[in-house]
Symmetry: C2
Subunit: 210 residues, 2 copies
Amino acid sequence: MKIAILLFDNYTALDVVGPYEVLSNIPNSKIYFTAEKPGLYKNNKGIQIFADCSLNDIEYPEIVVIPGGFGIDAILDNKEILKWVNAVHKKSQWTTSVCSGSLLLAAAGILNGRKVTTHWNRVEQLKKYPVEFVNERYVKDGKIITSAGVSAGIDMALYLVSLVVNENFAKAVQLAIEYDPKPPFDSGSPEKAHKEIVEMIKNAKSNKNK
Amino acid sequence: MKIAILLFDNYTALDVVGPYEVLSNIPNSKIYFTAEKPGLYKNNKGIQIFADCSLNDIEYPEIVVIPGGFGIDAILDNKEILKWVNAVHKKSQWTTSVCSGSLLLAAAGILNGRKVTTHWNRVEQLKKYPVEFVNERYVKDGKIITSAGVSAGIDMALYLVSLVVNENFAKAVQLAIEYDPKPPFDSGSPEKAHKEIVEMIKNAKSNKNK
């Protein structure tokens, strides 16, 4: 099973690696880090991940993962990438996004009329497309699964493994990555966080985490 | 604030990127991906992350993060790395590990007599060192913080941000990465998972997630 994870400059690293860590356990799978050109892709906080294949190198991945990040805005009108997204989506078994990666799927037109989600701070931007926003950790609509912000890609990927393999296998992956989360605080959603903290993130001139 | 994250072949990617995603929000911080030699470091599932500096390039990081992975065993007797771990630990403000990264700290001798934790499937191996194992998501003993398996690095890093900056800032980071986890299953620890699933992971010939 071929799994393509799109890379671009200024992706959010956990959007990429959360699903990677989970999906790479699927038996007989291979992950392809895919970008316009092979090479190192940076984000602004220092990490550099290597894209081992170009868009043309991988035409028919069974699973497509579009991560988000503040760099997503720069590729929403990138014709080559939009064309690739449409092409791979036509043949994919599953087309997925994490965080603001949903915006690229929306820009490609494939979320039209779909139930979708995204990072809480990108909801208004996503609603400009003809989609039905749902406030969930991840949302499946047909073969498309979109997830909420950053860390939600882990939850989405575990769910996807249960669909692609089976529930017991997904539970084994969860145990292998000891995903029994115990955040030290309860501030992970705008409903739970203090208002001032929500405003702090909303007003950050460059929120690097969406 | 200089933050060094050690890379080596066959690290677990989420051990690296969980703390990276969180700690890189610390104001005026810079992350250094540090390895024996600069270059690309692979894990067996395909991801390649670039190490931008060698052990000698970064002598006094304020925060040290040792990720785990099945490649950790191959460096437990690596004199250069052990020497570096001891050297940076002497001057660090915080020395941390994720998952089986604790074994490297133990091999370097700096966990002697300390309260520590690790991936659930590495506990027996860690107990061979003179440490006091504690079954928690992360454990602070002085300036050393060890975490449980893989995904626990996210929880540990949020806690560390609250110590380094303050609690409200840590909560803001949690909100930015929308860390409001909702795993689709409740199978993230050996206490919660079905016995057969625990045995499946224990008996896997090469468990790539520890």
